[in-house]
Amino acid sequence: MINLTINDQKISVTPGTTVLDAAKKLNINIPTLCNHPDLCVAGNCRVCVVEQRGARTLIAACALPVSEGMDIHTNTLKVRNARKHIVELLLSEHRSDCTKCYKNQKCELQALANEFAFGDTIFLDLVEDHNYTIDRSSPSFTKDDSKCIRCQRCVRTCSELQYISAIAVANKGAHQKISSFHDKPMSHVVCTNCGQCVNRCPTGALVEKTSIDYVWDAIYDPDKHVVVQTAPAVRVALGEDLGYDPGERVTGKMVNALKQLGFDSVLDTDFSADLTIMEEGTELLVRLKKALVDGDKEISLPMFTSCSPGWIKFIEHKYPEFLPNLSTCKSPQQMFGALAKTFYAQKRKIDPSKIVSVSVMPCTAKKFEADRPEMRASGYKDIDYVLTTRELAIMIKQAGLDFKNLEPAHYDSIMGDSTGAAVIFGATGGVMEAALRTAYEIVTGREVPFTNLNITPVRGMDGVKEATIKIEGCTDDWKFLEGAELKVAIAHGLVNANKIMKMVKEGKAPYHFVEIMACPGGCIGGGGQPIPTSMTIRQTRMKAIYSEDEHMVLRKSHENPDVIAIYKEFLGKPNSHKSHDLLHTHYVERDNY
């Protein structure tokens, strides 16, 4: 243990601890800006500078490892003056149109300004000296360089967590900026629209492209029938933006709120998640049969899940030679969209051209996905607008709803039923677990051999997870799988996806089925989720997801009554011709820059 004093208080901490973390243990708050618990230390904003007695300069607490006998002071006049200067300097380079800014009152720079830089401005305004640009090319987010404070959280996120580096630091000195390859627009580079940078940006430099006003317009248009679907991960995170601590399940209140906002029908993406399992599970079994029994060399294994649009764009850019390995299933959002303007329209006898289909997603990449030209199987744009969890919270506030005191309500019928298997789609490993629960039962006629259906080996926050399930006691149709060991892997965060892809490329991946989610922790850690998101918060949301699953009566996708009904009344059977038309898609190769 290392002994040191901070503001004359003694503390012993393990070697390698930073002064910032040691101070936290003493409940001494040192302000930070470029620091983020998910990312490596940068030490570049300098807001956290502290005084170490005997040192020539102040030192950034986030980047300073403790050493024996250190005498640290966090609140001396020298430190206060430096901090004030630093915040003032950042403000002088930052377009401070706070009252109009999307991040007003959620901006970390604004919070620091409030503490350290109120009153007269010291420095000259530099904003007009810079030729700042606003990049609105991405359908998912806006990048406004005039709000950027060069903390490089986004750059570190893109390289460390996502292994993409669509954005990086360009130029030096006064001209330094965060930019893309050859300053190309974000829509024309390797960006996956995952929004992890948006989730970590401390200011309004990176924000989602909001659809709030379009959705309000649709709601108030008497000619339109507006349906809304909510993704599994939204219900365990929305509360954070509405006064709850992380980990609170607010499903019922959320449904009620959506009804009060004026949506004509409040439905559940969980329904189409169950449908995805039926389609994707069947696709996997068919691929296995073709490969193992028919000896078809054309069949690509392992099969990859295709629910995460960030992951889809990643593989399209980085490993296009493996596009045949992707399941052809659309994501639950897009399956839902295709059915909303076909099956749902028929059932409710509504002209599909009058239906506006809205989704609430923990994701910014879903905005891009909804805009893909392939996603018009219904003859219309399958999903008209995508709202992030954060945007829904804003709408609830705009409508003046007292969210905490809302009575819980139930989803509407037709595509509103769901199972626990669908709920866990929101956490890494969830799609795999849901698929196994169903596929195992299809093949053997029995439930998966795990206590209470909880397939724990595929759960948890490890970046890459592997599991093997031995298939025994197959029914006659599936005898060819008897005794086979189904090898699966799960990765979340594209840096981990890349690890698996490297193995696949080198021919070293023994898997049959691989689940990949673009965001750390899966959708619960999505780019559209409440800010802040950290490992602790992701874990809390994950716990809530599994608790939601445990509380469901139905926990297997194939038992979802709405799913059973839609196959009976509309689709026929999984992977039917109609399913293929509406629920499956194809992918495109993209440039790797």
Binding site: L126, D129, A168, G173
Partner: protein, 386 residues
Amino acid sequence: MKKTGLNKVDLIFEAVDPKEVLTKAFNMSNDEIIQQVLESGLKGRGGAGFPTGLKWKYTAAEKETEKYVVCNADEGEPGTFKDRELLDRAAYKMYGGMTIAGKAIGAKNGIVYLRGEYRFLLPQLLRELESFHKLIKEIGYDFTIRYALGSGAYICGEESALFESIEGFRGEPRNKPPYPTTSGVYSKPTSINNVETLVTVVMIIQHGAAAYNQLGTKDSRGSKVFSVSGDTPTPGIFELELGMTVQEFVNEFGDGDTKAVQVGGASGFCVPRKKFNTTIIGFEGVPTGGSMKLFNSSRSMYNVLHNYLDFFAEESCGQCTPCRVGCQQLLKGVEHVKKGAVKSTYLNELTKLADTMKIASKCGLGQSVGNAFKTIVENFKEEIIY
């Protein structure tokens, strides 16, 4: 070791037999080499002045088997051109110094980080390197030197930015600690020394620390090569014994009308005429990596300052707030004071900002911007305002 003239010295460029001096070094123990360098009192000749022997001692103490000697040949300080001359005329001694350093710290590999603008020297340097590699092989020693080239960024002369650049990354300074002696290039213990420092080491081994100690003062031992430029009838490279006053320097190099000397380049200090007599050039007074720029009364010190600030606003890596934004503010600030767009008392705010930059910037670049700013503003305030 001959002393010529007032305090001009001819030591660093003195020809030596590389085989003789290297054999001498290889016959010494590592501790003996480090002890010699420590006793010589040699401080880094790049400008920062860290005791070379101490740097070697720390690097030698690291347990790691893979270590590096890096020679900083990214001479970029405005007004410095002495390493170019050394590379041109005494590269074999730089290689020798690196090899001796390698022996002392236990490194088998050396990297010369050569300023991009000096690429024209590379063919010649590589030819000399080839014969040098042959020579040490002949002596029976194993040490390999290679080159890495800069691309013109001033910041890459900062040691940790230089490592990043060698590794193929953007040249941005790292957080310290860890220092290079523990974690330098490729995160391995590294001794990084300036060209002149390494050349000087060869001369210390050649003549012995005691002889070297005859030159200079207690705080600034030995001699050093100065790059003299500006308003002087005799611009050029001069090796001078350390410890002279600025007045003595001006007596030798001035044009009779010198009003200020910028010691140490853009990141150094401006010494006005009234302080010539009381300012010693060396670590007890104003240190320098070699740049000595003389200004006579025809020069506007506002222009001088503006030029430096413009340089820093451009050459800051842009990573940390105090340096990136601070440089822009100082530049725009003095422009506004000059134009009368703000009150002249705004200079006080800017001086406070320069103080913050000195203590809150991440690396030596930002920390030294205030040197020129404060010494020029303090001594030539009227030229800035009117």
